[in-house]
Amino acid sequence: MTLASFIIQLLNGLAAAASLFLVSAGLSLIFGVTRIVNFAHGSLYMLGLYGAYSLIEFFGRTPLGFWGAVALSALAVGLVGVLIEVLVLRRIYRAPELFQLLATFAIVLVIKDIALFTWGAEDLVGPRAPGLTMAVEIMGRRIPAYDLLLIAIGPVVLGAIWLLLTRTRWGALVRAATQDREMVGALGVDQAKLFTSVFFVGSVLAGLGGALQIPREPANLELDLAIIADAFVVTVVGGLGSIGGAFLAAIIIGVAKAFCIGIGTVTWFGFEISFSKLTLVVEFLIMALVLVVRPYGLLGKPQAAQRAASEPAPPLQVPSWTFALVWLALLAIVPLVADRYATILLTDIVCFALFSVSLHFIMGPAGMVSFGHAAYFGIGAYAAGLLLKRFGLPMEAALLLAPVIAGLFAIVYGWFCVRLSGVYLAMLTLAFAQISWSIVFQWDSVTGGSNGVFGVWPAAWLADKTVYYYMALVLCGAGIVFLWLVLFSPFGYALRAGRDSPLRAEAIGIDLRGFQWAAFVLVGAMAGLAGAVYAFSKGSISPSSISIAQSTDGLIMVLLGGVETLTGPVVGAAIFTWLRDVVARNTEFWRAVMGGVILLIVLLFPQGLVGGLKLLVTRWREQRA
């Protein structure tokens, strides 16, 4: 690489870092004060891009029209953020944090469909910035003038945020609330207003980050989850709540990506290494590396213990054997009375139930929230498919080996993850899922790349849908019961003790980290089993089985049913899968409907469906007593 191309890639990276920084700074601000991991932040970025596109069309492609559109779009997105805070999040600040997360997933779904409805499914390519379409010659290469402007905007915004935070009363309140929001309230500060204003500023930053990208990137519907993953990585690498850290991390990641593209394919010692393929994964590699060395990010500090945290989870209630047997009997009868379609749908539900129960095991009783549980589901699915197609193993062997392979991956991923806790842990699980996804997505010769693997059909004796359903029911049901039994074994008690009080658990001699690692491997294998059963029922596997969307689906299932109950995740999986099927068959905008339903449930049953029903039953009994 010559010096000139080095400089060019550096500038490219810095230009890309600007928007990344804006989005991440907004996310970091919002998280700091409200403690909400706002999954909808990427959606706000996407709206900023779409908004700028439309406003430029409206105002005309003049410098004034362009910059007016960018500014107006950012402000409009700020108002959307205010709307989200006032209409949804404000009502559930007292709910468990994970439930707030569920609400932001729902908002992602709703915004995606609003964008689909308003702007359609086609990519929209925006104009270049009028007046800035020329290129500047640097060391014999031409750099778009707009990129140089972006490079300047990053530090300017950083300076503006810094001034706002350190030189104004609002800034002092925000920083104080980041540490102890209850005390800020006791000093007479209206938290609701403060939260709304923080949401406004954070959302404006997201919207501005999006709007500024309009000359560089077409507006499309995939941006929301793509950019939220990037923003998570940047905030975590920089250190949660550290705006300076976000700036540093955005630059590191922006530049690293640019270099991966710039280097292209290199031959080292006879091996062809494609660096451009690394672009999708390099940020996650950086994040994994940083978190192992500095568990709180580059400039972050250990998170202060949260005040006024929600109460510890109540003890789990064991479902009775009669209850379980009745349900099992009902599930066994269904194919005899229902049609083929219902049987196939039930097979899906059974797979997702095991997926959801395994996720619940790790995030509920084991206390380690995973944002990347699809990794194991997907690895299980791919392992099954590849063992069958590439290694020629019999289907039965592939099916049984798949969970083992998912477990092996969980051994590696888990080793890193159990070293962290809280949001950092969640982000690292997301990172591993994305690393897995990008390998699967790009390794065409083995995994089939974006097409996936086809012809993954079960053995002849299982080919019938009804027979396959029974096998799925037996395997996944056994997995679920096994996980539940483990929860009530000494191992399960130790995990729950570790979740409720890590220090005390270690003080009585529990090797918490080892136990958590083992739990990781266990649920990884079980999710892998679910993925393998699912793969053979569909006959094909696509990279979406390992995507962020798949991970969030799992979270929605668990949280919808209720993380504090044992049966909740099963109910959540059933309702989510069934509802999605019904809605998707009837409208193109199934996401908005799903999102709306989830929001309704979040606002009406902050304990999850099963938790909420239990509460109703208890109240009813108390009234009668």
Partner: protein, 233 residues
Amino acid sequence: MLGVKDLHAFYGRAHILHGISLEAHAGEVVALLGRNGAGKSTAMKAIMGLVPPARGEVSFAGQRIERLPPYRIARLGLGYVPEERRIFTELSVMENLEVGRQAARSGVPLWTEEKLFKLFPNLARMRERPGGRMSGGEQQMLTIARTLMGNPSCVLLDEPSEGLAPIIVEEMANSIRALKGEGVSVILCEQNLHFALGVADRAYIIEKGQIRFGGSMAELAANDSLREQYLSV
């Protein structure tokens, strides 16, 4: 000024306050005495709305406040100084004071940074120091000063003498007398009877979430058996 009637409060499922009643008049210093775990801090948090009262009445400045959120209560002029101080460690002394600032209130002393620095001269020498790099005594001064920035007519002071060097405790007592001199009512939780005797006009004794005694400091000082039963360790 402040009246509490039959106040009940829970922490999770634990019933902490079993119907306490007390009152404080304008310009009065009232001590709430009791052993560790008797319910003193919970009483203050329940009055302030930080632990929502399950039952009972709290009235302040002629208004019922038991259903109000803490910030509304603070804005009525009721100040709260927590036991753990809860200084904003990342913020400087001046910024900590800024967070506490509220608009002037009629009929109540108006506090400015400069006036507070006269009351707590130590703070004046460390205006730009982050709260996290102050000694316990300095933090205790700052947490009181921060609450005073809200121009309260009554201050709830949770264990102001706890964990402080004797000389600082004496300074603290002086500050409380100064507040009384300004006409600010003070309700303070204490385990340190000696400290309370030096500053308070009246006292209540709380034990297992119930008020066991209410009377003047002189009555309490004269009654050995009362002190033996509820306060001695």
